[in-house]
């Protein structure tokens, strides 16, 4: 176990590791984009494309939110570097998802788009999530942390939890009958939230106990 831990830590610190993970996470996107002209996406390729990019957005968001718990559980601090990469990749998939909607669903008819976003609840929710995601992607840099200050930056980036909730609602409201997948993603996020709540609770109890001792 210790050996595994050591070699995992070494792997995480290998110079190319971060890039390899990013490239790996972009493979599904490459398959989807190439799949439209190459006919890999079945009978209704654009429907497949918009569904799959939406789902990958949720998967990358779940990966982003898994980094901190995983780091805590394993003690592999090098995992930290992946959090920003996964966060940005979440935005990339969200951007492609939103672009497919704008171009292929709405035909770039801006008047129609502006009517559609507030009119349909699942679009409203998805759009809100995307705007928040864009804000977080724009401030996903060391520079933004410096400019905002670490405390405020952290507070701003708590919006990621809102994005996860909105993303699941967006999915739940669009399916016709089969809620298996939205419920699955909801459960994954609920678990990731529960870990954080449990740790925060524990920390608070610890602080109180320490204060009591002092």
């Amino acid at each position: 176990m210790a050996l595994l831990s050591v070699s995992a830590a070494r792997l995480l610190n290998t110079p190319g590791f971060g890039w390899s993970v990013i490239l790996l996470a972009l493979l599904p996107l490459a398959r989807l984009v190439a799949g439209v002209p190459l006919g890999w996406l079945g009978v209704n390729p654009l429907e497949y494309l918009i569904r799959a990019t939406g789902e990958w957005t949720l998967i990358l968001l779940a990966l982003t939110l898994s980094v901190t718990p995983l780091r805590r559980l394993t003690g592999w601090s090098a995992l930290h570097r992946l959090r920003r990469a996964f966060g940005r990749l979440t935005f990339v998939y969200g951007l492609v998802h939103f672009t497919v909607y704008l171009v292929f669903d709405m035909g770039l008819d801006w008047g129609e788009i502006l009517r559609d976003i507030p009119k349909r609840p699942f679009i409203t929710v998805g759009f809100t999530a995307f705007v928040l995601l864009a804000c977080l992607a724009a401030t996903s840099s060391d520079r933004a942390i410096r400019v905002l200050g670490a405390t405020r930056w952290r507070r701003v980036h708590r919006a990621v939890y809102v994005i996860a909730v909105l993303g699941v609602i967006h999915y739940l409201w669009l399916v016709r009958a089969d809620i298996t997948k939205p419920v699955l993603y909801g459960a994954i996020f609920a678990f990731l939230f529960a870990l954080r709540i449990a740790w925060a609770w524990k920390a608070r109890v610890q602080v109180r106990r320490d204060a009591g001792v002092a």
Partner: protein, 321 residues
């Protein structure tokens, strides 16, 4: 009720003898299958028949009034057979083509009951002989905002209705589709109430556009497309047209249909294709025509307004969606 007689441009029943040959072949296959099975021990085993294989339908005449529009293309038969909703076989579009193979489509009977003078159980082979088979190209618009163009084979449902003599108080026709847990894995999920029930108002059922469908693309229906018998009212969303029908009931009050029961605010009894009445969660203004890249504008009554708009004269289509 005023019964419209169909014009007799289509062939008389006597002209379609090859169809009998085809059925003979079917029986021969069945007997051969039985012989092949042989042995008393095996006699009770489920009969594996080649019914899942689509068979060429003979004596089908294209109806000249329902041919392909100049700006449209027929969908590929693979599209039709691989992309369909049939929740009894699973909720993913890829499920029905896989699981529906297990459905036995012969022997198959359709029971006619309720407010009719001649309630009866009709064998599907008798349905094939009931009226001349015609081919009609109809648009199929799914409530999920995709569409296809399909060459259906069948005859007007009114042919059947006329023969069973509905009584005056038969105001609606209810279609009950197969619910066999042995072959339908989707029945385990309570996504809808089983069996799937759909219905039409009597005048909609009698409308010459409403087809009793026995085939498509010149062949018997693939199981996932609703073999061996389904209906098709092309001006309504696809889910209104029940598949693999086992019972047709003539009733006085509006049937409680499956999707309406599951989500009354989202799926009305009428469910006529209407670009101006959105699904509460998505737009119905446009549709993805399978095989085309950009979306098409959805047409009121799926483009069949000239023939059917009068059925809904004076009705608020937003209220009766």
């Amino acid at each position: 009720m005023l019964l419209r007689l169909r014009d007799r441009s289509s062939p008389a029943p006597s002209e379609i003898t090859p169809e009998a040959l085809y059925r003979g072949r079917r029986q021969w296959l069945a007997q051969a299958g039985l012989l092949a099975l042989g042995g008393a021990a095996l006699a009770s085993a489920p009969l594996r028949r080649s019914e899942a294989q689509a068979m060429r339908l003979a004596g089908v005449t294209p109806n000249p009034r329902h041919v392909l529009a100049s700006d449209e293309k027929l969908n590929k038969v693979e599209d039709f057979r691989s992309y369909c909703n049939f929740y009894e076989f699973g909720m993913d579009k890829s499920d029905p083509p896989v699981h529906a193979k297990a459905m036995k489509v012969r022997p198959w009977t359709v029971t006619i009951e309720g407010e009719v003078n001649k309630p009866q159980t009709i064998d599907v082979d008798a349905l094939h002989r009931m009226a001349p088979l015609e081919e009609r190209v109809y648009r199929l618009r799914c409530v999920e905002a995709w569409s296809m163009v399909i060459p259906w084979v069948g005859f007007p449902l009114s042919e059947l209705i006329r023969r069973v003599e509905p009584r005056g108080n038969a105001k609606y026709v209810e279609f009950v589709t197969l619910a066999d847990p042995k072959v339908m894995p989707g029945l385990r999920y309570r996504s809808l109430e089983w069996p799937y029930v759909e219905g039409l108002r009597m005048d909609e059922a009698m409308h010459p556009l409403t087809l009793l469908v026995l085939g498509a693309y010149g062949e018997t229906l693939a199981p996932q497309n609703g073999a061996p018998v389904r209906v098709m009212s092309p001006w309504k969303y696809g889910f209104k047209s029940g598949k693999s029908i086992v019972k047709i009931r003539f009733v006085e009050s509006q049937p409680k249909t499956a999707w309406h029961k599951a989500a009354p605010g989202e799926y009305g009894f009428y469910s006529n294709v209407n670009p101006d009445v959105d699904h509460p969660r998505w737009s119905q203004k446009t549709e993805r025509r399978i095989g085309e890249f950009s979306r098409r504008k959805t047409l009121l009554f799926n483009g069949y307004g000239e023939q059917v708009a009068h059925l809904y004269a004076g009705m608020d289509l937003r209220k009766f969606f």
